[in-house]
C-alpha cells in the first residue's frame, strides 16, 4: 500500500476513534447539568445519585476524548503537512480558538466537577458543571466551523497558492455551518440519550429499580424521542444545503450515475465504480427527485456531471444508508419506549433488551454520518482548494506509517473494548451498592428541602 492510502487510513482510524467520545461528552454534560439542577431544586436525592453515576461515565469518555484529541493535534502535522501550509491561515486560528476558549475551560473545571465536592460549595460545583458543558459545546462549534469551511469554503482568497483571509465572518459562518452544527449537536444528544437509556435499561433488567435508574431511563428515552424527529427534519435540510453546495456528494449518496428527471430513490444497490452503474437496485419511483427538489420531475445531477472529480460512490452510498437506517430504528425504539414508560411507568422486558442493544446506536449513526460527509468531500480535502493527495507528507514513508498505524489500531481496539467493558462493569457495581450508596468522603450535605420532606 502507498503512503497516501496508509496516511488516510491512519487519520480516519484516529478521527473515528476520537469522535466517539466527544459525541458522548458534548451532550452528556448537559444531561449532568439537568440532573444537578433537579437536585439543587430539591426534587430529590436520586437526582444526585444519577449525577454521581453518570459523571463517572462522563469522566471516562472525557479522558478518552482528550487523549485521542491530543493525538489529532499532532497528526495534522505528521500526516497532512500540506494542509496547514496551504490553508493554515484559516484553519490555524480556528483550532487555536478551540484550545483557548474550550479545552482549558473544560479540562480545568472538570477537575472541580469531579474532585471538588467537599472543597467547593454546591453552587460553585453547579457553576463548574455549566462551564464544562459550555466548553464542550464551544469546542464543537470551532471544530465544526473548520469542517464546514473545508466543505464549503468562503471568506478567503488564494495568493501564491496559500489561502488568505478576507473576512473572518465569512470563514466562521459558511453556508453549511448552521446545518452541520445543528445536525452534529443533535447527533450528540441522541448518542448520549441512547447511552443513558441503554445502560439504565441494563441496570433495570438486573433488578436495580432504584429511583435514580428510572429517572435516568426516563430522561434518556424522553430526550431521544423528542430529538429524533427533529434530527430527521434537520438532516433533510442539511441534505438540501449539500445539494446546493456539493452536488457531487449528493449524487454519490443517492447512487445517481446519470443526470435524471423523476429520479427514483434507491433503497438498496451495489454501486459499480468501474462500469459506472448500480447492480441489484431496489427503487421507489420519483422519490429522490421529490426529496431533493420537492417536485416529482425535478432534475437531479448525476455523477456523470462531475467525472474525475467526485468521491468514491460505494462507501458514501452505504454509509448514508446505515445512518438513515439507524435513525429510523432510533425513531421506532425511542417512541415505543416513551409510550410504554408514559403508559406503565416502566418499560417492557423485551423493549428494555432492545434499548440495551441500542446503547451505542448513536455511535454507529454518527460515524456513518461523518463517513458520508467526509468521504463525500473527496477527492478534495478543502473543496475546490486543496486535494487530499497534495496535502500528504512526502517524507514520511509507508513502513513508518504502517508501523504506527498497527500500533494505533491495536491500542484503539483495546481501549474501545475496555471502555465498553468498564461502562457495563460500573453499571453492575452501582446496582450492587445502589441502596443508599454514599461515596466515601461525603458529597454535599443533603438539600434542606430533601431533609424536610
Amino acid at each position: 500500500m502507498d503512503a497516501l492510502l496508509l496516511a488516510r487510513i491512519q487519520f480516519a482510524a484516529n478521527i473515528t476513534f476520537h469522535i466517539l467520545f466527544p459525541t458522548i461528552t458534548i451532550a452528556l454534560c448537559w444531561f449532568l447539568l439537568f440532573f444537578k439542577l433537579r437536585y439543587d431544586a430539591g426534587r430529590g436525592e436520586h437526582w444526585l445519585d444519577a449525577y454521581r453515576f453518570w459523571v463517572k461515565i462522563f469522566a471516562l469518555s472525557f479522558a478518552l476524548g482528550v487523549v485521542s484529541g491530543v493525538t489529532m493535534s499532532f497528526q495534522f502535522g505528521t500526516n497532512w503537512p500540506g494542509f496547514m501550509e496551504t490553508v493554515g491561515n484559516v484553519a490555524g486560528p480556528l483550532l487555536a480558538y478551540e484550545v483557548l476558549t474550550a479545552f482549558f475551560l473544560e479540562a480545568t473545571f472538570l477537575g472541580i466537577m469531579l474532585f471538588g465536592t467537599g472543597r467547593v460549595s454546591n453552587r460553585i460545583h453547579t457553576v463548574a458543571t455549566v462551564l464544562v458543558a459550555l466548553g464542550t459545546t464551544a469546542s464543537a462549534f470551532w471544530i465544526l466551523a473548520l469542517n464546514s469551511w473545508m466543505q464549503t469554503p468562503a471568506g478567503f482568497e488564494m495568493i501564491d497558492g496559500k489561502a488568505h483571509v478576507v473576512s473572518w465572518w465569512g470563514i466562521l459562518f459558511t453556508p453549511s455551518l448552521p446545518y452541520r452544527l445543528t445536525h452534529m449537536l443533535i447527533a450528540s444528544g441522541l448518542t448520549a440519550a441512547f447511552l443513558m437509556a441503554g445502560v439504565s435499561a441494563y441496570r433495570w433488567l438486573r433488578g436495580d429499580n432504584s429511583p435514580s435508574v428510572l429517572a435516568a431511563l426516563r430522561t434518556g428515552v424522553t430526550v431521544a424521542a423528542i430529538l429524533i424527529p427533529v434530527q430527521i427534519l434537520v438532516g433533510d435540510q442539511h441534505g438540501l444545503n449539500t445539494l446546493e453546495h456539493q452536488p457531487a456528494k449528493i449524487a454519490a449518496m443517492e447512487g445517481i450515475w446519470e443526470t435524471e428527471r423523476n429520479a427514483p430513490l434507491r433503497l438498496f444497490a451495489i454501486p459499480d465504480e468501474a462500469a459506472r452503474t448500480n447492480h441489484y437496485e431496489i427503487l421507489i419511483p420519483q422519490l429522490a427527485s421529490w426529496i431533493l427538489t420537492h417536485s416529482s420531475d425535478g432534475e437531479v445531477k448525476g455523477l456523470n456531471a462531475f467525472q474525475g472529480n467526485h468521491p468514491p460512490v460505494a462507501p458514501v452510498f452505504f454509509a448514508f444508508r446505515i445512518m438513515v437506517g439507524m435513525g429510523l430504528l432510533m425513531l421506532a425504539v425511542s417512541w415505543l419506549a416513551a409510550w410504554q414508560l408514559w403508559r406503565r411507568g416502566e418499560p417492557g422486558r423485551w423493549l428494555a433488551r432492545g434499548l440495551v442493544g441500542m446503547t451505542f446506536a448513536g455511535w454507529i449513526a454518527t460515524v456513518a454520518g461523518w463517513y458520508t460527509t467526509e468521504i463525500g468531500r473527496q477527492p478534495w480535502l478543502v473543496s475546490g482548494v486543496l486535494r487530499t493527495a497534495d496535502a500528504a507528507a512526502p517524507s514520511v514513508t509507508a513502513p513508518m506509517i504502517g508501523l504506527s498505524l498497527a500500533m494505533y489500531l491495536a491500542l484503539y481496539a483495546l481501549l474501545l473494548a475496555s471502555f465498553i467493558f468498564v461502562v457495563f462493569h460500573i453499571a453492575r457495581r452501582a446496582g450492587q451498592s445502589s441502596a443508599g450508596d454514599k461515596t466515601p468522603g461525603g458529597l454535599f450535605a443533603p438539600h434542606p428541602s430533601v431533609t424536610r420532606s
Binding site: N89, P93, V396, L411
Partner: protein, 336 residues
C-alpha cells in the same frame, strides 16, 4: 502600540514567546504529573491511591498546555510544524501512545475491580515513562537538528533518560508538597536521588548544544556574551546544591517550606529552558528556518492575538483558582 505589535516583524517574536511559555508550562505542569506516574513504580498500593489523587484534578488541564504549544507551532509556524513533526514521526507516535495509555489508565484504575487495578497501574506507570522518554528523545534530536546518526541518536536517548529523571524529580517535589508522613519522607528520598540525575542531564545538554552548532558556540562563548550569560548556569548549579542541602533536612517541623522544593525544581526547569531558548533564537528549526520565515500571514496572527490577549489571562486566572481549591494535603482518594 497595537500596530507595532501586529507588524510582520514583531508578531512572530510574540508567538514564539507564547509558544515557549506554553511549552515551559507544559514541562513543569505535566512534568510533575508524569513524574508522579514514573515514581509510582516504587510505591505501595495505598501510596499509589494518594499519588494518583494528588494529580487527579490537574492532569487534564496540564496536558492542554501541550496541545496549546503544538497548536501554536501549528498555527503560527505551519512550515516548521510540518518539518518538525514529520522528522519526529515515530517518537511522536510513541509519545502519544504513552500519553493515551496513562490518561485512560488513570480513569480505568479507579473504576474496575481490584483484580484489574494492578494491570491499569502498570499501564499508568509504563505510559508515563514512555511519554517522558519520548519527549526527551525528541528534544535531543531537535537540538541536533534532526541529523540522524549513531552519535545523535545516543544523545537523544541520553536526553530521554534525563528528562524522565527531571520529571521524576519535579514529581517528587510535588509529592513533598501534597503529601505527609511516610509517603512524604519517601518523596524526599526520591527527590534527593533524581535531583542529581537531573543535574547530570542538564550539564550534558548544556555541553553538547554548543558543539552541534557553530552559531550556538559563538553565541555563548564569545565575549562579552559569556560573562552576561554566566548567571544562568551558575544559578542552576547553585539551586541544585541548595536543593540538596534543603532536602537533607526535610521535612521540617510543622511542614514548613514544604512548597520550596517544587518552586526550586520549577526554577531549574525555567533556567534550562531559558538557556535553550537563547541558543535557538531566532531559529525554529536549528540553523535552517527562522521564526520569520516560518510564520503565518500577519492577518491570521493578529486575529489570534486578539483572542490570546483576552483569553489567556482568564485561563491563567482560573487555573490559579483551581490550584487554590485543591491547595493543601491530599489524604484519601476522594474520587467523586
Amino acid at each position: 502600540m497595537w500596530s507595532y505589535l501586529t507588524s510582520a516583524d514583531v508578531l512572530p517574536v510574540i508567538f514564539a514567546g507564547l509558544m515557549g511559555l506554553s511549552i515551559l508550562l507544559y514541562v513543569i505542569l505535566d512534568g510533575y504529573d508524569l513524574g508522579v506516574g514514573i515514581l509510582m513504580s516504587d510505591a505501595e498500593p495505598n501510596e499509589k491511591d494518594v499519588m494518583v489523587a494528588s494529580i487527579g484534578p490537574f492532569w487534564d488541564a496540564n496536558e492542554t498546555w501541550l496541545v496549546l504549544g503544538i497548536g501554536l507551532l501549528l498555527v503560527a509556524f505551519p512550515i516548521a510544524h510540518g518539518i518538525i513533526l514529520t522528522a519526529l514521526y515515530l517518537p511522536v507516535a510513541i509519545m502519544l501512545a504513552g500519553l493515551i495509555l496513562r490518561g485512560v489508565a488513570f480513569d480505568f484504575r479507579a473504576k474496575v475491580g481490584e483484580e484489574h487495578k494492578t494491570l491499569w497501574d502498570h499501564t499508568f506507570i509504563a505510559g508515563s515513562l514512555l511519554a517522558a522518554l519520548a519527549q526527551g528523545f525528541m528534544l535531543g534530536v531537535y537540538i541536533v537538528g534532526f541529523e540522524w546518526n549513531v552519535l545523535n541518536a545516543s544523545f537523544g536517548i541520553l536526553c530521554g533518560v534525563c528528562l524522565a529523571a527531571g520529571y521524576a524529580f519535579i514529581g517528587a517535589c510535588w509529592l513533598i508538597m501534597k503529601t505527609e508522613g511516610d509517603l512524604q519522607a519517601k518523596a524526599v528520598r526520591w527527590a534527593r536521588i533524581f535531583v542529581w540525575v537531573t543535574a547530570i542531564g542538564l550539564a550534558a545538554v548544556s555541553l553538547a548544544t554548543p558543539f552541534v552548532s557553530a552559531r550556538i558556540f559563538e553565541k555563548w562563548f564569545s565575549l562579552p556574551n559569556f560573562l552576561i550569560l554566566l548567571p544562568i548556569p551558575v544559578t542552576a548549579g547553585g539551586l541544585i546544591i541548595g536543593l540538596e542541602l534543603l532536602l537533607r533536612r526535610m521535612p521540617f517541623p510543622g511542614d514548613r517550606l514544604h512548597w520550596l522544593p517544587f518552586v526550586g525544581a520549577a526554577a531549574i526547569f525555567l533556567l534550562g529552558f531559558a538557556g535553550l531558548a537563547y541558543s535557538f533564537f531566532p531559529f525554529v528549526v536549528l540553523d535552517r528556518l527562522t521564526i520569520w520565515q516560518a510564520a503565518s500571514a500577519p492577518e491570521s496572527l493578529t486575529f489570534m492575538l486578539v483572542g490570546i490577549v483576552i483569553v489567556l489571562p482568564c485561563i491563567l486566572a482560573y487555573t490559579a483558582y483551581a490550584y487554590s481549591v485543591f491547595w493543601g494535603k491530599v489524604r484519601e482518594l476522594s474520587y467523586y
